[in-house]
């Protein structure tokens, strides 16, 4: 699924790294628990989360997650955007709940991790 399609489905806007908006993601993972994200071994992953802080970006960096969408209208801080930019992580913001966002992406063909 293209990142541009993710944005369209979730009414999300890219707030960092717009160059990647035509890149593909294969799987989605929804979690507010960074410890769980760190157990994943999946490439081309989209992380759907309401956990919006610096450690979310650090977790994405370590777990090689290149795309993160913040749900429930969570807003990334300047520090988060700076860190994500440094590590080439694409950040998006959506007004939808995690349940709704996950459901829409799943219905549109985004695969689960397991």
């Amino acid at each position: 699924m293209k990142i541009s399609e993710v944005c369209e489905l979730l009414e999300a806007k890219i707030i960092c790294d717009t160059k990647q908006d035509h890149t593909l993601v294969e799987k989605g993972y929804s979690s507010d628990l960074m410890s769980d994200v760190l157990t994943l071994d999946t490439d081309h992953l989209l992380l759907i989360t309401g956990m919006c802080n610096l450690q979310t970006i650090r977790t994405a960096e370590m777990a090689e997650v290149r795309y993160v969408v913040f749900v429930r209208n969570k807003k990334a801080t300047k520090e988060m955007i700076a860190l994500a930019t440094e590590h080439g992580i694409c950040l998006m913001e959506s007004p939808y709940t995690m349940f709704k966002a996950s459901g829409l992406l799943f219905s549109a063909g985004l695969k689960p991790v397991y």
Binding site: D32, L33, M34, S35, D36, L38, T39, D41, M51, N53, L54, Q55, T56, R58, T59, E61, M62, A63, E64, E79, H87
Partner: protein
């Protein structure tokens, strides 16, 4: 090559800086991508553990041709029951730590999963030393 870092307990804005630096160094050295991911995830979990549980800590990293040896020592409460702490889901983390997305009792098991050798020495009320070795 040797790298050293210090960690302040409770300062979540700093957690991950050492892991980030190590990741960059290993990339420069041309280490296998999967191997780098395992190492930095284990180190990041260890950093978060020190920030979450200890007063302060130190990281010593030695990188050789065929392996990386990471030693994390802290001044902190120690681990009363290592066997229990290694169980998935067991955690003594505070509410603040949980609010950051950690403290689910996944840290130590995940460190074990991502290292070739993991050794934990702890003195309750004083300190914990975690040694992790990964072969390239």
């Amino acid at each position: 090559m040797e790298l050293n870092f210090s960690i302040e307990g409770g300062d979540f804005t700093q957690a991950g800086q050492a892991s980030s630096r190590v990741k960059a160094v290993l990339k420069q050295l041309g280490v296998n991508t999967k191997c780098i991911k395992s190492i930095v995830i284990a180190l990041y979990e260890a950093e978060v553990n020190v920030v979450a549980h200890a007063y302060k800590g130190w990281i010593n990293i030695q990188i050789d041709k065929d392996k990386i040896r990471i030693v994390i020592t802290d001044e902190g409460p120690g681990i009363p029951d290592i066997g229990k702490a290694m169980e998935e889901g067991f955690s003594t983390a505070s509410k603040k730590v949980r609010e950051m997305g950690f403290g689910a009792g996944m840290g130590l098991p995940n460190m074990k999963k991502n290292t070739d050798e993991l050794n934990i020495e702890t003195v309750v009320g004083e300190s914990t030393t975690v040694t992790m070795v990964n072969y390239f």
